[in-house]
Symmetry: none
Subunit: 186 residues, 4 copies
Amino acid sequence: MALPRSGPVRSEAARIAILDAAVALFAERGYDHLTMEGIARQAGVGKQTIYRWWPSKGDVIAEAILEGKLLGGRRDLPRTGDARGDLTAWLTDLFTLRGSADGEGLLHSIVAAAAGNAETGRRLRSEILAAPLSDRLSEALGGATGPRLAAAADALVGAVILRALSREHFDETDMRALVDAVIGTP
Amino acid sequence: MALPRSGPVRSEAARIAILDAAVALFAERGYDHLTMEGIARQAGVGKQTIYRWWPSKGDVIAEAILEGKLLGGRRDLPRTGDARGDLTAWLTDLFTLRGSADGEGLLHSIVAAAAGNAETGRRLRSEILAAPLSDRLSEALGGATGPRLAAAADALVGAVILRALSREHFDETDMRALVDAVIGTP
Amino acid sequence: MALPRSGPVRSEAARIAILDAAVALFAERGYDHLTMEGIARQAGVGKQTIYRWWPSKGDVIAEAILEGKLLGGRRDLPRTGDARGDLTAWLTDLFTLRGSADGEGLLHSIVAAAAGNAETGRRLRSEILAAPLSDRLSEALGGATGPRLAAAADALVGAVILRALSREHFDETDMRALVDAVIGTP
Amino acid sequence: MALPRSGPVRSEAARIAILDAAVALFAERGYDHLTMEGIARQAGVGKQTIYRWWPSKGDVIAEAILEGKLLGGRRDLPRTGDARGDLTAWLTDLFTLRGSADGEGLLHSIVAAAAGNAETGRRLRSEILAAPLSDRLSEALGGATGPRLAAAADALVGAVILRALSREHFDETDMRALVDAVIGTP
DNA sequence: AATTAAACGAGACGGTACGTCTCGTCTTATT
DNA sequence: AATAAGACGAGACGTACCGTCTCGTTTAATT
């Protein structure tokens, strides 16, 4: 039973404007250059309206992830019947995020956001990265579940992230080697 | 033939003081709260002396990594004869870094530094993370080299980093599952 | 003929709570630090209830003066038979207000309120400062009235205010010199 | 013996730009609406440059008064031989300040500044208000000095200020009555 | 009694300004 | 010429209030 409370209710319009502004600026300039003041300006909102509901820019981004605003439809794996091929394609696509934003790279920014904010880190893995792989990866591993499946998913995604952080190229050969390393040679 | 030049040369004392100050503040407060001004203050050095030699805080940290000041002796793998056990121990040790700094966690800070600075990212992987594993990992994989070896190293280290970013626990079972996934069940 | 109207009438309790809160905060922290939000909080009242009836904090204070809440019983002159002595005592008492509030001084705050708000200024002089003097001062001046009396009252009170604003001390000698200057040497 | 110190010296250009901006905004909008941010904007200066040298807007105005930037040449009394007439003219001129700024009135603003800032209050009386009167007033009083002279000066100026604060008109008759009250009928 | 509408407490909203912090550049005097 | 020191214009930080605007509740006068 909730406490009855009078007064105006939270503005959904402001909430959406803030998340959209945050996502737009994030994609444009990266996590480091994202500022609360910039979000407020872009969203046409008072700063206090942001601080009233989110303690930091990291939490704004975390909520944007939850709403699927940050990486839109990118989360779904293709489903061609060839599990190995689908995984490879998805991982390649993920690596490509590295270079899509101006200056910093969207993947770098997402990692920076995750490093700086617990909630973002939590959601990044569970909702964006490892989760979509699970089904197909389980197939490819012959029905693995639990720690075994989680470890394989983390190994694949983690390797891609590490390569992106190291700014090294990551060609088809490398990707094949990675998939082989984790789910075995066919 | 070098150009003749008058005046004092670069002060090695200042260079060291700056790197030490950067490392101390990094460990204490994390990468996000590390500031050029703070480093200068702590090192007893003018700000210009930092900017003269490094373009950003990320590059200061990158150099500190190169000097081995950031993660000291932690880079070496144990060598007990049991390659699988040595790798597991080293990876567990790496994961533990997650919680060693105040507030943010040293591993999170290192990842943030790598995400924000290309040179740090480059060195992080080549000199700190993947490199030390190579020898023992190659053994464990029956003499693998090249992309195969690199992929396996990235998979192991990347998985640990991803788990750290997600703030999830990572117990012995998980670690064993990871090693099994990458180098096969014994 | 009033328009017929249904609904509740103005709450006298709220009105009094607001004035009392305003006076308390004014005395405590001075006019500059007095805020509408603070008054509402202290009075346990919605902000709109204040804005509904007063356009600014200055007007709240003006009404508090009118109600005699601001300077309580201080407005009355003693009546000992010695008009000169009574005036001197009252003026000295007025000057003493300078130091009675925390930080700013009540007299400074009253002057600031008068400077910032026409209504407060109007009432300050007519009801608080010059008015109480009139009778005894008229006596002391041998029955003067009109501009002559007003000028003398303003000269006495204005001099005290100016001394307070200048933060200079104002001892018995000074006060005697002032009274002599305005109502002549005995 | 001053401590030797290296580093850049305070920028005189910035100091002047700040004082000029403060004076311009003060005259335009009054003391209450004067803001540090507005001064910085108008002066083309970082906020920190103001806060580095002055703790509050009141102190900026106090320094502007000291430099004679606030009331320019207005401080001098005319000298026609008729001391009483000169004083009357000067006091009338002072009262006129009441209405010269938009909205608040310059005299109200000066009083507000003095009420809110000790240094401004101190300088207001000693350098702007009472001081210029002294010579001619002493003449008019037949050579009075010390507390007697100070009291007369404060009475004249204070009365004018009080009338201004009360928003009452103050015509020639009133002014004559005031001068008569303080320096006697001719 | 039922209806109607204003006053109320609470507080969200778009803003402005606060005073502090750091940025990266620049200017000094010293070594 | 490199240094320690630090002033400078710039702008973000997180907080406090501004005055306006809903909300849901309470309370009277009018039906």
